[in-house]
């Protein structure tokens, strides 16, 4: 095979892997949008907050240490213990559940029946708040996140492809893990929503709020549930991204990579988020590979949006979105 083709395949494969990571973030958006019609901009910040909390627990940091020191003149930093990763993950997931209860009680409950743009703005306000809270709780410095995920080139794929084509493909182990985790997550979410009582209630709410209410489904419980799940998904996304770059503010900007995925896949479809992620991931990597060098590179940020825009012109509700029916 010619080199150029091999390189393109490699770029495409890596794009698929990156797409899985985008899809992980997009998944959180879709869950919340389906259940409550809220376009949750805070999803990226949730991922940051979850990752910060995880690292904080792992390293035994004292929350709000900086604030406490500033007020009382103390000199507190850590509890002086190291928690095993799995315990810290469970604790962080617990914090996300508590957070979603708080969000439901103090924000969402009061915003029932508002216009979508108002809800969207409220989540941006929430994003600001959580950003500040995360920094105050755990500090704004960069933190290393290590929960024992493998990183670096996958030797097997490298050798096998080298023997087969004379060029070893680069696939990151972390990406492989992320793909497996994402697949597991989607499968378990599907099983949950198809077969469990709560999951069915969730789908009922997504279909029709009022009908769901009238058969006795508690909307508030569903919202807490769905935000908790979204919080957990954010935690997973935070772990994947944080392992790569350390945990710091920029982590919250991954939300911007998830938006074109959502647009393309449709705001209401879980398979859409996955397929959209794959298309966007592969599309932007291949575009950067073929066209990037000609026009100066760094095209990925906008190309994802333009690609999604092109799809939308032909399917205004996204690939898998529900058909928008308008009546006068």
């Amino acid at each position: 095979m010619p080199d150029q083709l091999l390189y393109a395949i490699e770029a495409g494969l890596n794009g698929l892997m990156a797409g899985v990571l985008y899809a992980l973030v997009a998944l959180g958006f879709v869950l919340i949008f389906k259940a409550s019609g809220i376009f949750n901009y805070a999803q990226g910040v949730l991922a940051l907050f979850a990752a910060l909390t995880l690292v904080g627990f792992q390293n035994g940091q004292i929350p709000f240490a900086h604030l406490i020191n500033a007020i009382f003149g103390t000199d507190l930093h850590t509890f002086g213990w190291q928690l095993p990763a799995i315990v810290a993950i469970v604790l962080a997931a617990g914090v996300m559940v508590i957070l979603s209860i708080i969000i439901e009680r103090y924000v969402l409950k009061h915003l029932v029946n508002q216009a979508p743009i108002i809800l969207f703005m409220a989540t941006i306000g929430l994003a600001y708040f959580l950003e500040g809270l995360g920094d105050i709780m755990w500090g704004a410095d960069i933190k290393k996140l290590d929960v024992g995920l493998p990183q670096g080139i996958n030797e097997t794929i490298d050798t096998v492809t080298y023997n087969a084509f004379g060029y070893g493909f680069f696939i990151d182990n972390l990406d492989i893990v992320a793909s497996v985790v994402a697949a597991l997550l989607v499968i378990s979410l599907t099983i949950f929503s198809q077969y469990s009582k709560q999951g069915r209630a969730l789908r009922a709410v997504a279909d029709d709020h009022q009908a769901a209410l009238s058969v006795g489904i508690s909307l508030r419980f569903i919202w807490v549930l769905v935000w908790s799940i979204a919080g957990f998904v954010a935690l997973v996304a935070g772990i994947m991204w944080g392992s790569k770059s350390g945990v710091q503010f920029s982590l919250s900007l991954i939300a911007l990579k998830a938006l074109p995925v959502l647009m393309l896949g449709g705001f209401t479809s879980i398979p859409g988020a996955i397929v959209g992620g794959l298309i966007i991931g592969m599309g932007e990597k291949l575009f950067e590979f073929f066209v990037g060098p000609m026009i100066g590179g760094a095209t990925e940020n906008w190309f994802a949006y333009v690609l999604a825009l092109l799809f939308l012109v032909f399917r205004p509700q996204g690939l898998f979105g529900e058909k928008i029916i308008e009546r006068v």
């Binding site: 376009f39 900086h66 604030l67 500033a70 924000v107 009061h110 915003l111 508002q114 216009a115 979508p116 743009i117 108002i118 969207f120 703005m121 409220a122 941006i124 306000g125 929430l126 994003a127 600001y128 708040f129 959580l130 950003e131 500040g132 809270l133 920094d135 105050i136 704004a140 911007l256 938006l259 074109p260 959502l262 647009m263 705001f267 026009i295 100066g296 760094a298 095209t299 940020n301 906008w302 949006y305 333009v306 999604a308 825009l309 939308l312 012109v313 205004p316 509700q317 996204g318 928008i324 308008e326 009546r327 006068v328």
Partner: protein, 358 residues
């Protein structure tokens, strides 16, 4: 008592259709104008101009523009930052290419160029609606920023890609560049803002504005009663982009003096301006002002309070500031989802009845 229609007799049609039919409103409007033009310029110093007034005036222009598109015509846009960048780079190219032409003309031309770009990126709005459109406008945001960063022609091949505004004068007074006095900056932005606000007010009261609102309320129904969605939506995009382009031009030339596209006109700017109009009130001219004032003054006030007054560490203060601004936004949306303009309307209703509410 003094705020009511009764007793304020109109004797001509022109009187009857004036912008402020209530006498008290008119007087208040004249008073604000008098303070803005007659008092503030004499007291303004560098700090007040650069930290408070100039950004407020410029953001008010941008908010007016976005309010036309989102508040009046119902098309949610997140491309504001990108369009402001178009205005900024257009004015930079014009300023450096034709140094002898008045800066005022350059600013208006920059608005015109932005309007054309806006129409181009407004085309998808004929197919795409709601949040899908909002995200689609992000394509404009990211693409424009990338373009200005990448093509050296836009920044006159300078080593770093920064653009800096050279000094330009109006009537012998510098309005751009470092030697601009605070009152000159302030007045230049104020005059443009007042002219544009006057234009926006009258546009939205007329045929064009009514068409926009018809499209906003229900585009299919509007189409059936004879509103052409193509021209209506695109005219909203054009006029809105004109405002935003002017704001971008002033933002770069008068306020910042030097800019880098990714930093000054990034996605954060788009969100900020959308905030302004939502907090201020969608579909309200007053709301654009109120929202801009809130988002500009709030952080400055908080900073001065926390760092200056209470002597807190700057980082704690900055984090707290984020939390407070976030919380205020949420509280605001819960308490009054229709924004400050709605509060204003309620206050006026109360005033009508005051002091005999029954």
């Amino acid at each position: 008592m003094f705020y009511r229609e009764a007793g304020d007799f109109k004797t001509s049609y022109a009187d009857d259709s004036q912008t402020f039919p209530i006498r008290f409103d008119r007087l208040r409007y004249y008073a604000v104008m008098a303070v803005a033009f007659g008092v503030i310029p004499f007291f303004i110093n560098d700090y007040w101009a650069n930290a408070v007034f100039v950004p407020f005036l410029i953001y008010a222009i941008a908010a007016l523009g976005l309010n036309i598109l989102t508040g009046y015509c119902g098309q949610v846009s997140l491309g504001t930052g990108g369009f402001m960048a178009v205005g900024a780079y257009a004015v930079y190219k014009l300023m450096t290419a034709f140094p002898d032409v008045s800066i005022l003309i350059h600013v208006l031309l920059a608005g015109g160029i932005t309007a054309m770009v806006g129409v181009l990126f407004g085309l998808p709005s004929l197919r795409i609606k709601g949040f899908y459109l909002a995200v689609a406008t992000l394509a404009a945001q990211f693409f424009l920023v990338w373009l200005f960063n990448k093509v050296p022609w836009f920044y006159n091949y300078s080593a770093s890609g920064q653009i800096s505004a050279p000094e330009r004068t109006i009537l012998g007074q510098a309005v751009t560049g470092a030697n601009t006095t605070a009152p000159a900056k302030y007045l230049f932005c104020l005059i443009i803002l007042v002219a544009l606000a006057w234009l926006a007010r009258n546009l939205t009261r007329g045929t064009v504005g009514r068409k926009w609102m018809a499209i906003r309320d229900m585009d299919i129904a509007a189409e059936i009663i004879g509103v052409n969605p193509l021209t209506t939506k695109l005219s909203a995009f054009a006029i809105s982009s004109f405002y935003i382009g002017v704001a971008g031009a002033l933002f770069f030339a008068v306020y910042l003096g030097a800019a880098e596209v990714g930093e000054a006109f990034g996605i954060q700017k788009s969100f900020l301006i959308l905030f302004m109009i939502i907090i201020g009130g969608l579909g309200s001219i007053f709301g654009s002002f109120a929202g801009a004032a809130f988002m500009v003054l709030m952080p400055v006030l908080l900073k001065n309070l926390l760092v200056g007054q209470l002597g807190w560490a700057t980082d704690l203060a900055a984090h707290l500031e984020l939390m407070i601004v976030g919380a205020l936004i949420v509280i605001f949306l819960i308490a009054e989802p229709h924004g400050m303009a709605q509060l204003w309307r309620l206050a006026k209703e109360k005033l009508r009845l005051w002091p005999f509410p029954h």
